[in-house]
Amino acid sequence: MERLNDEGQWIVLMGFMVCVGIFFLAVIIAQSTVVGQTTSEGVLEFPKNDIQDLRSEVIEIAKRGGTSSLKADLKTLSMARKNAVVECSITPGAVNDSYYEYTRIILHFNNGVTEFDETFLLSRPKTP
């Protein structure tokens, strides 16, 4: 009886290895959609511009002396348009040194995903 030719066995073995490799690649690809989604959500939901806009407005209000009605408007507008709870307090002349007078600005922003708090000292030269 003729003996079996077993010289091609490594081809079968390589086939198995390639199969296992493709399987793992498929698992990685399946995971990548989930990762991409959560990452893009994180980027989309971070309210960078909302905080920057609010900050610049509040600093502008503080430069003009800190009128209270503008702060109330800011609070209402933030809730209506950005769905964020905003609170700011402006204290002119909170800190003093020989050359400058500082206005203390305390800023609070919370939109349910991101909470941001900042205390900021705005300097103004004292008139001699």
Partner: protein, 255 residues
């Protein structure tokens, strides 16, 4: 090598029976397992699709985008839109104004996926994506709504998302989900000084997600430590000085 008693036919019979047994095993056990796997994959895909829909609704509501259009594939089941008027579940808010309870009732409508072969039911309900199994009492929240309590200003912010459809809509296969939000949200703002706010979820009797909402209210998402649960169905949060409830109406134009 001694090759007496070696027969080709016996070898063939052995190899052939191994092959037949292999085919039999695969069709008996392997194929049903494969189908089961397919059902599981369909349900998982649908979970992700629901989260995508939730993201679209977030854009429609929080980001003030008027129209949104999503291509989606619903396999292994059907996705149905339930209008706010047809929904049986209800969210109730109560706020003590010093002399009386001010009440606010809201039926959010629902986007519901029901698996054909499997047992999963996945819903978009009032901003959350929730899932349960048919014939089982538990439920789980896959993605939470964005309700929050700001501890510094003692402000409780609640977003309600109602779905409206002017006719019965349902999808099986590949389709396009068109949604719009053209009206300003109804805003209820109550500020009575430090007060008590109660929240209650009344489930749809045939599709009960109360466990998922219970876990959400009791978990640390709204406030660290969760809302109090006195056991009467209401979840209580105390010391709230400003309550804002925003009700968005999202219209599903086509699916």
């Amino acid at each position: 090598m001694d090759e007496r008693a070696v027969s080709e036919s016996i070898g063939f019979i052995i190899i052939f029976s191994i092959v037949v047994a292999g085919i039999g095993l695969v069709s008996l056990y392997g194929y049903p397992m494969l189908l089961q796997h397919q059902i599981g994959a369909d349900e998982r895909t649908m979970e992700q699709t629901m989260i995508t829909i939730q993201n679209d609704i977030k854009l429609l509501t929080y980001s003030n985008v008027p129209y949104k259009d999503t291509a989606l594939r619903v396999s292994g089941g059907a996705l149905t839109v339930y209008d706010m008027a047809d929904s049986h579940q209800e969210f109730e808010f109560k706020c003590w104004n010093g002399t009386d309870w001010e009440e606010l009732h809201f039926s959010p409508g629902e986007l519901r996926y029901v698996s054909d072969q499997g047992t999963a039911i996945i819903s978009f309900e009032n901003g959350a994506v929730v899932k349960r199994q048919q014939d089982a009492s538990g439920s789980v929240m896959l993605a939470e709504p964005r309700w929050f309590y700001d501890n510094r200003t003692k402000t409780l912010v609640i977003f309600q998302m109602g779905l409206a459809a002017d006719r019965d809509l349902s999808l099986n296969g590949i389709g396009n989900l068109q949604m719009s939000r053209l009206n300003e949200p109804d805003v209820y703002e109550l500020s009575y000084g430090p007060t008590e706010v109660k929240v209650k979820y009344t489930p749809d009797g045939s599709n009960d997600y109360s466990q998922a909402w219970h876990n959400y209210f009791k978990g640390s998402s709204i406030i660290p430590g969760g809302l109090d649960d006195p056991g009467d169905g209401y979840y209580v949060i105390d010391g709230v000085s400003r309550v804002i409830v925003k009700q968005y109406n999202i219209t599903v134009t086509n699916i």
